[in-house]
């Protein structure tokens, strides 16, 4: 599943960059994230509980940040698996400076879903991923506005 989009944040680019690479911020902004523990440089272990209406699933996996080029680009690699299936994906993030106080986050990626959730949840995949991205940015904006 291909994912592509952009979000404009009223925050300076450096600040957005720091937030996006800050495990504490990610842990709060990633929907359902229960734990995000560093295991090396740009390498984290993650536990997420995804809850969508009556559907719930616990996923454990890892997040890797690659090709980190502050404050412009990085690649995010995510792998997670649970009883109900697994999710793998890569995403490119590009931060564009719109003005001193505005930043556009461009994201583009490919998510691969497998196991049971892939075979029963086809209908809901697209909307779920879109919703999670929406939620992520809503939380991110909240966190940034607190700072």
């Amino acid at each position: 599943m291909k994912i592509k989009g952009q979000q404009t944040l009223t925050t300076p680019r450096e600040q957005v960059w720091e937030a996006l690479l800050d495990p504490g911020v990610l842990a709060r902004a990633l929907p359902g994230c229960q734990a995000l523990d560093p295991v090396g440089e740009n390498h984290y272990k993650i536990r997420m509980k995804l809850a969508l209406a009556a559907v719930q699933g616990l996923f454990e996996g890892k997040i890797l940040l690659q090709d980190v080029q502050p404050p412009n680009n990085y690649k995010l690699h995510i792998e997670g698996a649970g009883k109900v299936g697994f999710v793998n994906g890569e995403g490119h993030f590009h931060l564009e400076k719109l003005s001193d106080v505005e930043t556009v986050v461009h994201y583009e990626g490919d998510v691969r879903i497998g196991g049971m959730i892939a075979s029963v949840g086809q209908r809901l995949m697209d909307m779920t991923s879109k919703m999670m991205i929406r939620k992520f940015f809503v939380s991110l904006k909240e966190i940034l506005s607190e700072q």
């Binding site: 969508l52 209406a53 009556a54 559907v55 719930q56 699933g57 009883k83 109900v84 049971m116 959730i117 029963v120 949840g121 086809q122 209908r123 809901l124 995949m125 697209d126 909307m127 779920t128 879109k130 919703m131 929406r134």
Partner: protein, 286 residues
């Protein structure tokens, strides 16, 4: 396809049901079970307890009071489909109910369950949007009446708290002179709408005096097509008007994509079925 084990309770009063919910945060309400049981059987949902609302008689009634029809949340799709009161006073809801799934699903599925589940392709929400419906929600702390647009927040996401129960759906008695229609193209496997459009059109001297259009299936939640409504109001009731107004049916909406329909096709269908629903509703308004 074998659910994990769970406790089951079937309270006979709303108060008892609310008590169970506040005692056990992992409990899940069971209405018709047409959405909940399949996900439990896949073990995508493992509630500690299932609270069956079937025994609470009060939740099954349909009654009219001062221009408002109160539909108990446990009213099945079949009961809505065959309600004399609704077919006379709120035919749009009847049209939406009769298109849901198949007979077996309609015999068990409920309006409260459908609204609580908030499937972006469910049929009711289009009609409820067009009807400016409200959702009555009760918890141990009291009750709230929430407009449908605020109640359904996003795909499969509502404003409902885990300890709250939907008790009623409120829809207006249809005014005279207003025609309604529900037009849909269904996903052939599930029966859910790929696109469903509910329209309510009022005419006055050949012009459109009132327009409400609710669209399901296209975006991550059903929405009112305000731009379409605006483009209709005050315009002459003729095919050209409908065609032009329908073009903006999916404007500003990020159309969903799945195996059965690309986002481009969905957005296109939204315009086609909006036009058809408006034309049919206007035809009935005359």
């Amino acid at each position: 396809m074998i659910a994990a084990s769970f406790d089951y309770s079937a309270p006979e009063t709303l108060a008892d049901a609310l008590r169970v919910l506040s005692d056990d945060p992992e409990a899940k309400i069971l209405a018709g079970g047409q959405s909940l049981i399949p996900i439990m059987k896949l073990r995508l949902s493992i509630p500690s307890q299932v609270v069956d609302l079937g025994g609470i008689i009060d939740l099954h009634a349909i009654a009219e009071e001062e221009g408002i029809i109160r539909i108990g949340s446990m009213t099945t799709h079949e009961q809505v489909e065959h309600s004399e009161l609704l077919s006379e006073k709120c035919p749009l809801l009847v049209a939406a109910a009769s298109g849901i799934g198949d007979v077996q699903v309609r015999n068990r599925g409920t309006i409260g369950g459908s609204v609580a589940h908030a499937d972006p392709a469910a049929d009711y929400p289009a009609a409820l949007q067009a009807l400016d419906a409200k959702v009555k929600v009760v918890s141990s702390a009291g009750e709230k009446i929430i407009p449908i647009d605020e109640f359904i927040v996003d795909a499969l996401t509502t404003a409902l708290e885990p300890d709250e129960i939907i008790t009623e759906i409120h829809v207006p008695t249809e005014s005279t002179g207003i025609g309604t229609a529900y037009e849909t193209i269904v996903q052939p496997a599930s029966g859910y709408a790929i696109v469903g459009v509910a329209a309510r059109i009022g005419l006055s001297e050949g012009n459109i005096s009132f327009a409400r259009v609710g669209i399901t299936g296209v975006g991550s939640k059903a929405y009112r097509a305000l731009a379409v409504e605006k483009a209709l109001e005050g315009q002459p009731a003729k095919d050209d008007t409908y065609g032009i107004a329908s073009r903006v049916a999916a404007e500003g909406v990020e159309a969903l994509e799945d195996l059965h329909a690309s986002s481009e096709y969905r957005a296109h269908l939204a315009t086609v079925f909006t036009c058809r629903a408006i034309a049919a509703a206007a035809g009935r308004a005359q």
